[in-house]
């Protein structure tokens, strides 16, 4: 009888310990989950703001202005569009012409460098 009682008491103590442990653990986890949920919400809001910002920065008006200013681009003209067949019909430069053009292009920076050395 006494043994049984002792075992039961032991069980009660152990169980209550486990339960309290669990309870506190779950409370902590809940708090953490709430925190994370809030953080996710905050991040989501921040993402929404950044996406809006991104779209705002990519609005056509701004891109056009920047492209004109920094890249020297202009709206595409129909005459600048070719089909492959049309391209083939155009007389292609001979290898000698290509070489001449490339040499001409290479020569310039070289001469500039020489000028700087002098």
């Amino acid at each position: 009888m006494r043994v049984v009682n002792l075992i039961l008491v032991g069980c009660v103590v152990a169980l209550s310990f486990v339960i309290y442990q669990q309870k506190y653990e779950s409370k902590d986890m809940e708090a953490r989950a709430g925190e994370l949920r809030r953080a996710i919400g905050g991040e989501r809001d921040a993402v929404a703001v950044l996406r809006a910002e991104w779209s705002h920065l990519n609005r056509p008006k701004r891109i056009e202005r920047l492209a004109r200013k920094h890249l020297g681009l202009k709206p595409l003209k129909a005459s600048q569009i070719l089909t492959v067949r049309q391209y083939a019909e155009i007389r292609q430069p001979t290898p000698a012409e290509v070489a001449a053009r490339m040499l001409g292009r290479v020569a310039q920076p070289g001469s500039r460098r020489q000028a700087a050395l002098r």
């Binding site: 919400g41 929404a48 990519n58 056509p60 129909a78 070719l82 049309q86 391209y87 155009i90």
Partner: protein, 563 residues
């Protein structure tokens, strides 16, 4: 002796034991009861849901609606929600009304200190002070450290592209509810909006047919046209003639939907769908198409246009009178009122009216934004009405009506309901009825191209894009009479004419006779070149392959191919 003593002791022990047992029983019952109570309570507490955070409590205060994003056909964001702070006060907790009002008005420029003081002294428990504040303003107010103030997080609608697509998007009110345009459409979609700060709901964006790049190009060209020709207002529409998708729609002057108070100004309404106009000679496309489709005339027939038509006290005359017999193509490219009126008479009033009705020009048109304005028809449609409507006077429709009806003339003959939402050409074909024969549509393509090559539409021609089109120079009604100087100029352009894909409509309101146009102000010199410039810009965006005519082949091409 010892035995007795032993016996007595036993008896004493037995009595003692009985009493002890009874006492222990009562005690254990009491303990059992107490522990049960504690256990039950503990269990109940354990199962109770975790306490709600403060945000859950506050969000119920917000009356603002969370909304689906609106994106263009390529997924670029046109409208989205961001979370902002809204400031409210609990007047019963405000300590010093004067300081509070004074200091708040320094941070919030649109808050009047005197008005706020009055509202704060009015008592109560809840008072909105300002909604949709930026994080910076929130921080500033926080630093003031005034008691009785607090923030609610609320969604607020922002439009990253600003005014570019204003009339398609519409706008929302202070509670984020859609009041106009596609924002109103979003409100009526199940699941697209929710209240009470339920912001973690996943919502699909509403995808429009509009292409932001095209929309931007159209608006820019309209703006520069308004400036160049000193017009009061302008409308531009780009429509896919096969799918009925509205690729761009701009009505100027417009507004920035981020500043909704701008939208309420009187002249900022959407002229493309809410304004009805007598659009003038551009209506001859319908007269010609009707007459050709019914077989009452053909391209090799013609009409005598040498003399004005007199009906009672009314005279129908030609703008650029040729004073001779004109063939049907000539009537079209010289825009002869006399010839068109005679064509309408050949059709007969009933058939003419029925044909226009079939094209949808006589009824309100339903769109996702809600119905367009109602066309204004003559009260009694007689012979004279048919004759004037033949060249676009006496029937007022919206520019959207014109674009949608004209699409049927060039797309092979199908009346397609225009849409602001994405739709495939196959889907559109399944929902559309044939209104004219394929041959008639082919003839109309020929006539429209001819008018650009030889007639009033010359200035709309853009190298490579095979533009076709028809002008309309309508005199505006001022004080009940047609004005000689106030014009409404329309140009209906379609490209490429060998297999039409897109329709571009431009309407300019009261363009003036400016130097650049040689002192004249007809549609051929202002609306037509505007359409030409628009097509030149949007052609590449829409993937229409330019074809250069023989002889003037690709002057820039060798440059483009060099390296």
């Amino acid at each position: 002796m010892g035995f007795i003593r032993k016996h007595l002791a036993f008896r004493r022990d037995a009595a003692h034991k009985r009493r002890t047992q009874a006492r222990a029983g009562v005690m254990s019952l009491a303990f059992a009861l107490a522990f049960t109570v504690i256990g039950v309570r503990l269990g109940a507490l354990g199962f109770a849901p975790g306490e709600a955070g403060p945000s859950a409590k506050w969000s119920t205060l917000s009356t603002a609606v969370s909304r689906s994003d609106i994106v263009d056909r390529k997924g670029r964001i046109l409208a989205t929600d961001i979370q902002t702070g809204s400031l409210f006060a609990d007047p019963s907790r405000v300590v010093d009304v004067d300081t509070t009002a004074e200091q708040l008005s320094t941070v919030l420029t649109n808050v009047n200190a005197r008005a706020l003081r009055k509202r704060l002294t009015g008592g109560g428990k809840f008072l909105w002070i300002a909604r949709g504040l930026t994080p910076r303003q929130q921080a500033q107010i926080h630093e003031l450290g005034l008691p009785g103030l607090d923030f609610v997080r609320e969604p607020r609608r922002v439009y990253p592209a600003g005014a570019t697509a204003s009339h398609i998007l519409g706008y929302v009110n202070v509670d984020n509810q859609g009041l106009a345009g596609m924002e109103r459409y979003v409100d009526r979609q199940p699941g697209a909006v929710s209240t009470g700060g339920k912001k973690n709901v996943k919502r699909l964006p509403v995808r429009l047919a509009m292409d932001l790049s095209v929309q931007y190009a159209v608006r820019e060209e309209l703006l520069s046209a308004m400036e160049r020709y000193k017009a009061k207002a302008a409308v531009g529409i780009v429509l896919d003639v096969h799918s009925g998708e509205i690729i761009a729609l701009s009505s100027l002057p417009d507004y920035d939907p981020n500043k909704r108070e701008e939208a309420l100004k009187k002249d900022r309404f959407n002229r493309a769908s809410s304004g009805v106009f007598e659009l003038g000679s551009v209506f001859k496309v319908f007269t010609t198409a009707g007459a050709l489709d019914m077989g009452v005339t053909s391209l090799d027939k013609g009409y005598d246009a040498s003399k004005p038509i007199k009906v009672a006290s009314f005279t129908i005359n030609d703008f650029y009178g040729k004073k001779r017999w004109l063939s049907v193509p000539e009537i079209f490219i010289y825009s002869s009122n006399i010839g068109s009126a005679k064509m309408a008479l050949d059709m007969g009033v009933t058939r003419h009216k029925a044909f226009l009705g079939k094209l949808g020009l006589l009824d309100r048109m339903a769109t996702e934004m809600g119905p367009t304005a109602r066309p204004i028809l003559p009260k009694k449609w007689g012979r004279l009405n048919s004759m004037t409507i033949a060249y676009g006077h006496g029937l007022s429709v919206t520019p959207l009506h014109l674009a949608s009806a004209a699409a049927a003339l060039v797309n092979g003959g199908y009346k397609i309901k225009p849409t602001f939402l994405e739709r495939s050409r196959e889907d559109a074909a399944g929902q559309s009825d044939r209104v004219i024969k394929l041959q008639t549509s082919d003839l109309m393509r020929y006539l429209l191209r001819l008018n650009v090559q030889k007639g009033s539409g010359k200035q709309s021609d853009t190298a490579g894009y095979r533009v076709g089109g028809k002008t309309g120079t309508a005199q505006k009604v001022v004080n009940g009479r047609y004005s000689g100087t106030k014009l409404l100029n329309t140009y209906l352009g379609v490209f490429p004419m060998d297999a039409p894909e897109y329709l571009v409509l431009v309407v300019l309101d009261e363009p003036e006779r400016v130097k650049e146009t040689g002192g004249i102000a007809t549609a051929g010199v202002n609306s037509a070149p505007t359409v030409g410039r628009i097509i030149e810009r949007i052609g590449p965006m829409l993937g229409v392959t330019p074809v250069m005519e023989k002889g003037r082949q690709n002057p820039d091409a060798p440059v483009a191919a060099s390296y």
